[in-house]
Amino acid sequence: MPLAIWIDSLILSSIYILMAAGLVLVFSIMGILNFAHGQFYMLGAYVLFCLFKLAGLNFFISLVLATAAVGFLGVLLERFVIRPVGQPIQVIVITIALISVFQGGTTLIFGAAPKSVPPAFPGTFTIGNTVVSNERIAVVIIAMLLIAALYTFIQKTKTGLALRASAQQPLVAGMFGIRAGRVSSLAMGMGCGLAALAGGIMAPIFYIDPFMGEQPLVMAMLTIVIGGMGSLGGAVVGGLILGITGSIVAYYIGFWAQLLALCLVVVLLLFRPQGLFGFSEK
């Protein structure tokens, strides 16, 4: 089996994992499924496009700026749009409406035609008889570092502890002096920032267009279902499973791989509804 396909599967997995991690954060703290998550991925890629290609900044600086900008946007949305509404179904409708707002806005500014971002790490190297571009390896390494950093943040820092506490028992967490509003803002900001990061590091590999967020969103939702709601480790395993079916299995059986991944999710839901790593609520 060609090595390039393994690297592709890792790249796909890292998109899904980063997206799913953000989705899980928002879901476990705020209890809502953020349908606009794919749009933050798209916005991240577009902000990076502006800063890196149009303004000519350093790749890492533009990546950090894009993450910060989109994360801040998420905080603003949480504070001024989502929190005043409150009820879950209405919030879902608002996030769905945000999809068309962001897609429409981006189409107006940049047009619907796909755009390309120049590679941040040009050049290739050879392993055995396969030629691998530096860009792809760099993406995988950056994604792995990010996931490790996120894990450390959530498990080892005090803020991470506050996040985990509010996810488990919002009321008790509140009694111990954790501000529910701030935690929600933080979760939304981090979730959107992670989506933007995923979009930003993928932008040099894929083309970017206003509708690029839809497919990663669906895959991220499936990822969190496979891994289990509210579990970061589960998101990593789920992302790896979907990434491998999306590229390695697809290499052998074509588009039926997509069908296989979806069936896998449905079957998993039947036998283990809480996901591979989730806890049963009952």
Binding site: G86, V101, M221
Partner: protein, 332 residues
């Protein structure tokens, strides 16, 4: 003798007046374009009614479009392969949807909640992939073309080819029937149980209600109505393909129900579907590129101001007027 509430009487009169106005509408407005939007809105009403019934039993289904597509394909296949008459094809479409909903429902509705939403999302995607690739039955992307229906009443043949007025009346009939069914269910024991299952599954289970049974019942009923709506839409558009009922439709249904209002089982979805379709089509023509932006913002503002939907206006108006009256009384 049952005690008839005066308020209920008023509502009944209002509904009858509205239905009569809707029935007389094609006589007053001959504009083909307006009527075609209304027929489309009518189909959306049917789908939204079904969707709202599932939502009111506590489950958010994200794959309703797939049931419309199953009904549509079934009707199209019946019409082309065995040249089934119009009504039979519609019924076949509805039954096909309902059977598939039953088989899926008894399995995936045991879980419920968010897992159900995502399972239906996945199943909706699976359905689209199957429709695209199962060439022998669905003819892939080419889709199936369907002839205009032929209906004889007495000796006269109703003309479907030059005018869309018959479609308008058929869809109106369906909406009235579906609305009556859902309204009746909502008043009955079944409706109360399905609401209690939605509000507190654990309590309902402990009171002896078998959750899956009621969830499946509402899901199957919704799938039947959705299937009939989808089959009708296929006749109306004379074509079905994998792109006709996309996943976006399932999500639009949620928007329709919420902007219409969720606590009313019938009025909310109908109002929401008509306004959503009418505004959506109008904006598509007037605004073109700006449309998604304006439409999204409009939905956000609407949900922001009226989180309980347009139906809630009936309670908001008296409050606003009372406030206005007090203000006037204070100043004057």
């Amino acid at each position: 003798m049952k005690f008839i509430k005066p308020k209920l009487k008023l509502t009944t009169i209002l509904v009858i007046v509205l239905v009569v106005i809707a029935a007389l509408f094609p006589l007053l407005v001959k504009d083909r374009f307006t009527l075609s939007i209304l027929v489309e809105a009518g189909v959306m009403c049917l789908l939204a009614l079904g969707f709202a019934a599932v939502l009111r039993s506590g489950q958010l289904s994200l794959g309703q479009a797939a049931f419309a597509a199953i009904g549509g394909y079934m009707a199209a296949i019946m019409a082309t392969k065995i040249s089934a008459p119009f009504w039979l094809a519609l019924l076949g479409g509805g039954i096909a949807s309902a059977v598939i909903a039953f088989l899926l429902g008894i399995v995936i509705l045991r879980i419920g909640g968010l897992c159900f939403s995502i399972a239906t999302l996945a199943l909706g995607e699976i359905a689209v992939i199957v429709f695209r690739n199962w060439d022998q039955v669905t003819q892939g992307f080419t889709g199936i073309a369907v002839n205009a229906p032929l209906i004889r009443i007495g000796g006269t043949v109703i003309d479907f080819t030059n005018t869309i007025i018959p479609y308008y009346y058929i869809v109106l009939l369906f909406i009235v029937a579906a609305a009556l069914i859902f309204w009746r269910i909502n008043q009955s024991r079944l409706g109360r149980i399905s609401r209690s299952v939605a509000v507190s599954p654990i309590l309902s289970e402990h009171l002896g209600m078998y959750l899956t049974k009621y969830r499946v019942l509402m899901f199957v009923l919704a799938a039947f109505i959705t299937g009939v709506g989808g089959a009708f839409y296929v006749y109306y558009g004379a074509w079905i393909g994998p792109t006709l009922f996309s996943g976006t439709l399932s999500i639009s249904l949620l928007i329709m129900c919420v902007i219409g209002g969720l606590w009313s089982p019938v009025a909310g979805p109908i109002i929401g579907a008509v306004i959503y379709t009418y505004l959506g089509t109008l904006m598509q023509m007037r605004l073109e590129g700006l449309r998604p932006l304006v439409f999204g913002l409009l939905v956000i503002v609407l949900v922001w101001i009226l989180p309980n939907g347009l139906v809630a206006l009936q309670y908001k108006f008296p409050i606003w007027f009372k406030g206005l009256y007090r203000k006037l009384a204070r100043t004057g």
